[in-house]
Symmetry: C2
Subunit: 334 residues, 2 copies
């Protein structure tokens, strides 16, 4: 309940903070900013105002909560929370081009509507705007030396995102990928930014246990991604909104798949066929114990996240809300 | 002569500063960093060391010179100079994809060698690394508040680059573009970063006339780009390394062309033909006075640059060297 109330209070503040960094001018740059408004879910493709649920805003919420749990005022971390969500969205614009994905959250992606050149460039713009969002920490009363520390963490995370994406793109054309390689990839592509969300909030909140918050976020990110991998194969179509076992149909190399391929010769044969028998693949994955393995791994990282959170000393109402957030993310079915 | 000596002294320092931000690891990220080393001219496509002249490094030189002309120590501005050159290079990786250019400086572009997805992502990485390069200003002894001012300027410039590129991509598919629209485009795409190079150097040098330095750099950038436009049509093939009037063959909308199209009905007809008669187009451009117009515009911005430099109070040996740099850029034939 505390979590719901926190979301309700802060969601509009996060949106407003992001909008403050993203004007929609009427001049020659209208299409440029219009593309970004569309991607953020704030407008339709004609740039008329819209309110489309474009993501859970989980990362900025985490940032605000760790700031408060560390004893700081959540509102002071708003510029950082906005920067993190803008960065996440920049990476989605480029990922959609790199993965050749025509849709995201049920809508056409930026590149399908405005073409690859404009989409690459708009993504670059959002990257720059994410950096600009951090500038507002100074106006929020965060001292210069602290802002620089936040930026060091932010920049390193940007780089890690690209490391992860580099590995992920490479996996597509490789015959075999090990579970260890996969874990390195998601540690960079997914967990790094969730770790930074927690750490940056704690940093703005003047925590002395920033490393513990970072570890908390990273472990949470790993658990979150593995959970996603499980839902991509065994999720309920009606709840996830994408067809069940869709990750199998596209031969996505996720944790359960890699675990199964390492162990089942028959699965390797099914996977090598030009037309994959998805039903057979699911059965073989289950037979190889891939679901149990992934579930156990998700739970292990979940526990490690909670241990790190305990070490961080996250307290008070925000500490409890953080634990509620962790539980809701792990218990999710979509 | 002073300019040559300055280049000779500082070129290796700039390269070393950039390399300090760009390791070449032996692990799973070797290809990732290898692509960036290749693009910077530091390696061949097998990632073996190479020394390929990849650009004039004009922007970082400008940054170091304005720092010194403002009374500062050039070496303190090295991290900013490196950041600017890295940013410029990031934008080239993405521009080459967006413009579908298979070669740059006589070599295959990153996307032709490693594919569009990896090239987009490598460009993003270089963008992040450019931001990391700025972090080293603190180690160079620049105080935190000043570093933040540099970043504000840097971030705004990143955004302006994407504004310019957005307009430029849009021009390609438009029937007509006005000279005024073109000037707005190059002010963002080219002049903004050259302006920032001068302004950031002055800022690190504790100048109180940063705006004059910015204006100097922007005017220089406009003159530089217009000069480029002239060389793209009337340049000497043997010196520019690209076929004369190549900008016409690709129907690039440069200043002389737009000026000519506004004034010559016959040129509009030649331009509308499926197979363009390049020789006829050159003759019509000359007849319309497009070359004289562009030359006069280049000279006008050149003069404005020198006036701004005078106002800035740029003095001493570095001031003289800056004037030499301006003269060399405007007198260039390639």
């Amino acid at each position: 309940m505390a979590l719901q109330a926190f979301f309700k209070d802060y969601f509009p503040l996060i949106e407003a903070e992001m909008r403050a960094c993203l004007p929609l001018p009427a001049d020659a740059l209208r299409v440029y900013y219009g593309m970004l408004h569309y991607h953020m879910g704030w407008s339709d493709e004609q740039f008329a105002p819209a309110h489309i649920k474009a993501g859970k805003r989980m990362r900025p919420m985490l940032c605000l909560l760790t700031c408060q749990a560390a004893g700081g005022v959540a509102q002071r971390a708003l510029p950082a929370a906005a920067a993190i969500e803008l960065l996440h969205n920049f990476s989605l614009i480029h990922d959609d081009i790199e993965d050749n994905s025509p849709t995201r959250r049920g809508r056409a992606t930026v590149w399908t509507l405005w073409g690859v050149p404009q989409a690459i460039n708009a993504g670059d713009g959002l990257f720059a705007i994410a950096h600009q969002a951090l500038e507002r920490l100074t106006q929020a009363g965060v001292e210069a030396a602290r802002v620089l520390q936040v930026q060091v963490m932010f920049n390193r995370t940007c780089l890690e995102l690209t490391h992860g994406q580099h590995l992920d793109i490479g996996f597509e054309t490789r015959q075999s990928v090990t579970v260890a390689e996969y874990m390195t990839m998601i540690a960079n592509k997914t967990a790094a930014l969730i770790g930074a969300s927690a750490a940056i909030g704690a940093l703005v909140g003047d925590s002395e246990r920033v490393d513990d918050y970072a570890d908390f976020g990273r472990q949470l990110g790993l658990a979150f991604q593995i959970q996603d991998d499980i839902l991509g194969i065994w999720g309920d179509e009606a709840l996830t909104g994408k067809s069940a076992s869709s990750d199998l149909a596209t031969r996505k190399k996720t944790l359960p798949v890699l675990y199964g391929l390492e162990r089942s010769e028959r699965l390797r044969i099914v996977y090598a066929a030009p037309e994959m028998n998805v039903e057979a693949a699911v059965a073989l994955l289950s037979e190889a114990g891939a679901r149990e393995y992934a579930q156990a791994e998700a739970e292990r990282h979940h526990s490690l996240a909670l241990e790190a959170l305990d070490r961080s000393g996250a307290g008070g109402e925000a500490g409890a809300t953080l634990r509620e957030l962790v539980a809701s993310l792990l218990g999710r079915v979509a």
